[in-house]
Amino acid sequence: MSVVPVSYYLVLSAILFGLGVVAFVFKRNIITILMAIELMLNAVNLAFVAFARAWAQLDGLVFVFFVIVVAAAEAAVGLAIVIRIYQNRQTLNIERVNLLKF
């Protein structure tokens, strides 16, 4: 029963990360932008797990936990901020939230 080489997983994680970046730039809805960030984090997690597997080291998996924790914190705070923004400006379009400029 042959196994899938790590590079496959890595390429997949790279693709997902790139798509996350594109989403990050492309989306206008603040919530979906946060989702894009989550997507990137997930891609990184995949790379971590793949590396951990490749070297038969558990550290990678541990790091995945940390990434997840950070993602959770980021989501909580980020969404709270989103709610605040919506309360103040009645919009979720990030291009309409542009008061902080020159």
Binding site: V21, F24, V25, R28, I94, E95, F102
Partner: protein, 667 residues
Amino acid sequence: MPILEHLWIILALPLAGAALNGLLGKNWSKTIVNSIGIGSVSLAFLSVLEAIREFSLLPAGQLSFFKNYFNWMSAGSFKVDFALQMDHLTIVMLLVVTFVSLLVHIYSTGYMAHEEGYYRFFAYLNLFVFFMLTLVLAANIVLMFVGWEGVGLCSYLLIGFWFLKQSAINAGKKAFLTTRIGDFGFTVGILLLFWTFSSVDFGTVFAKVANMPAESATQAGVLTWICLLLFAGAIGKSAQLPLYVWLPDAMEGPTPVSALIHAATMVTAGVYMVARMQALFSRAPIAMFVVAAVGAITAFYAATIGLVQTDIKKVLAYSTVSQLGYMFLGCGVGAYAAGIFHLMTHAFFKGLLFLAAGSVIHAMGGEQDMRNMGGLRKQIPVTYWTMFIATLAIAGIPGFAGFFSKDEILDAAGSGPNAHIALWLLGLAGAGLTSFYMFRLIFLTFFGRPRFDERKVHVHESPRSMTVPLMILALLSVVGGWFAAPHLLGKTDYFEAFLHPVFATYGVPAGIEQGTSLAGAAGEAGGISSSPAMELFHALTGPPVVLAIIGLLVAWWFYIRKPDAPKKLAERAHGLYKLLLDKYYVDEIYAALIIRPFLWISTNVLWHMVDERVIDGTVNGVARVAREVGGQAREIQSGNARSYATWVVIGAVGFTVLMLGVWGMVR
């Protein structure tokens, strides 16, 4: 308690006093301020005595005591320690400084009783004592320079003590700036010293100098330059030609200050410095001659100005200048001991004169012009008698302190190793003039008919706190010179012997046997076979004494016998009189030659051109450029987060391309 091990205590005491009074004294009663001020200084005096006792117990071979407390600064080979040292010279200075300061402190409690900023005054005084002691005890020239500048600062603060009086402020500034000119030379001298000996430590430097040959009297070597530069500092600090101009104005300060700082101690710092550095000076004949010449000329010159001054303190100020000239003359001709000796005696009688003058002013309710005095003899007897004794002392009447010291100096000037006839004559003339203007002062002040409205001015003797110091100083002005009595009999006087080790240690062979050589010289000068009796006779009837007597008589003739004679003389020799009265227009000349051009350059070149155009121009230009660039760059900050995200992506791509492509990492 081993004070000697902890010399710093002597410094710490007045500093603590200054700190306490200066920082906290504002709301304290005069009593507390007094006890702190006087207490700290008297404690310092006592610890000095104790230190001297312990010093005397040192093994015979040890001529000086040195202690290094901590490394102050060290940059590469340039290393300065906070180190103090004590030897016979230091002892003399310590005694003079602490004792006179103590007396002046006591005196001030009476004199300043009704002044604003009482605590401030005492804080400054204590601070001054601290710096002066630092100057004296310092074991390296940099630390000495600290004290040097410190006393300058205190002098500035105290001259401008009445900072509401414009003239006082100006006088303070003048003193500070003028001495600064000299101090510049002093600083360069220090640098040159270090550059030459790669050390600023007295011991090290002198040890290195000791095995250097004396330089020739024809062309100047490095020692000469060092000495001349250092002496420039001395000129500034000790008010010699051409930088003496600040001292007369310094009389704007309170009289105790004039007594302590501008007569007894600070102004003599230059002399002390020259004596301290004598190892270098005595190997630099040219420098020696310059010192002597400057001293002699100043002595005569200042005396001439003193002749016609009418402000009692101004007279004393010029006489101080001239006496300092004598001290330098003494050092310049190699009679360091004599110079220091005169320094000490001068500290006594000139301090006394100032304090007494202060007492007079006090009695006259602030009046300083002698023409509005007269006949005070009866009202303020203590002041009169003490001042009279001091006058006799300064005039060099035999038996009084001034006689011995001045006589030695003139002796050395006339017949010492580096003697020169011109110096001798100048000194002699100065001596005569001194006795004249001093007795003029006495006669104008205390004799004759009162020239002031007795109903307005209610003359009263000063309080005990002022008169007691006067009496003590009067006593010292009499006996202070008797160490030197044997000298009259052609023997080495005790003072010489006491200081001998200091000057002998590093001195040039020629300089050593000063006392005897002076005695011998005196004998030759007298041109008579030297037997003690003849020596005595000669000394008592020597030219100085004769001139002093003449001066006395002339003064008596002018101001007692024919009080209107001076006016006639002034009218007859009007030009000369005016010249003297206006102090040879030196201030004006300086103003014209130096100050105005300086101001002009500063204003038009430095300020309007360099500062405004170049510097401000640069700064503003930079600011303008920044503003323009920012104005363009701020467009980037559109407030649209997607654009920011794009910038992030750009950065990420750049980095990744670098990492994967260029650096070939991961690969």
